[in-house]
Symmetry: C3
Subunit: 148 residues, 3 copies
Amino acid sequence: MVSSKTEGTMGAFSDDISVSTKGFGDVVDITPDVQEVVGRSGIKSGIACVAAPGSTAGITTIEFEDGAVRDLKEALDRLAPMKQHYHHDARWGDGNGFAHVRSALLGASRSFPVQHGRLVLGTWQQVVLIDFDNRPRDRRIVVQVVGD
Amino acid sequence: MVSSKTEGTMGAFSDDISVSTKGFGDVVDITPDVQEVVGRSGIKSGIACVAAPGSTAGITTIEFEDGAVRDLKEALDRLAPMKQHYHHDARWGDGNGFAHVRSALLGASRSFPVQHGRLVLGTWQQVVLIDFDNRPRDRRIVVQVVGD
Amino acid sequence: MVSSKTEGTMGAFSDDISVSTKGFGDVVDITPDVQEVVGRSGIKSGIACVAAPGSTAGITTIEFEDGAVRDLKEALDRLAPMKQHYHHDARWGDGNGFAHVRSALLGASRSFPVQHGRLVLGTWQQVVLIDFDNRPRDRRIVVQVVGD
């Protein structure tokens, strides 16, 4: 699939998505919302950057089915267990040190190719927001698209 | 190294790379193929997004030599061991739950700066596809370049 | 926050940042320097790719305060302990096998949305370079911005 270089119709577009989460590692499929923004951008070929501004959330992709999602949560619990001493908590008392570590390890933004006006994803691959914080949150997700 | 902002010659370009893998964490150096697409794009300054569409592969960079590659494989085995119970497998019986977890943790796409018509990488840094699936696969890698 | 698609003023811009590190997992807040390059680009809406060329460093975001930074370092020590056998070291004798593994797991580049001429980040979220190498290093960080 080749889209040859085009010139003169390039543009940039962004919009936000609002997502309510349960926190505590809640994994939310945001693929339809991201695709909607990409479609609305009018950009057919380019790059989309999906970001969860903040230091206690992550963006990645997974086959969004209960089993794999549970497996991922358990792996993140091993990486940075909730019940462990965190220097962040000792200092600030907000009890979400594990959330900061998980977000830094997973990353709070990820970019994807856009072709034919859509994110390029596998059939069973979804873009997910993971909210690592220790309380429900209303999250703002930024989708920024650049291309032509 | 400064490339001042230029206007009016911006473009977007993408092409695919086909890669046959052995699965089971096979690490494949795709740097020459990615550089070839970037060169062919005609884009001198911009961003290249390299993606492995799907939920059982990853894209990252490493010094591609046998020792470091083996070390990375062992670290991934500790992160999400093959011989462990996975809810994904219990539910779907495809036995590749570890592959889904590893892909979600590592990420299936990564972006790089493009300068002078080439990816900006360190001397000993290669772009690699890691195929976490539990069988050989023919993978399609998407390289999307945006810039001028 | 919507920035509608604009056409004809698109551009690409890049510049480097020089950072001296202590190595051994030193975490350096590079946010002001990255924002400075983004501001100087004149690009108001787009994507910025921040990269640490090389195979022993990483780029991510975290709330840059001593506690969280120490927590992240300890998590990386668990992921790829310094005191462990590495095939890379056995082969090349440079003793930084752990640094290669950590860089491959965390990623040496990350992209962010740009809005109103600035990286979109949370209030407590900073962009950091982590130098995993086993000695002080002078690092070159590349900031590449594309947009309009």
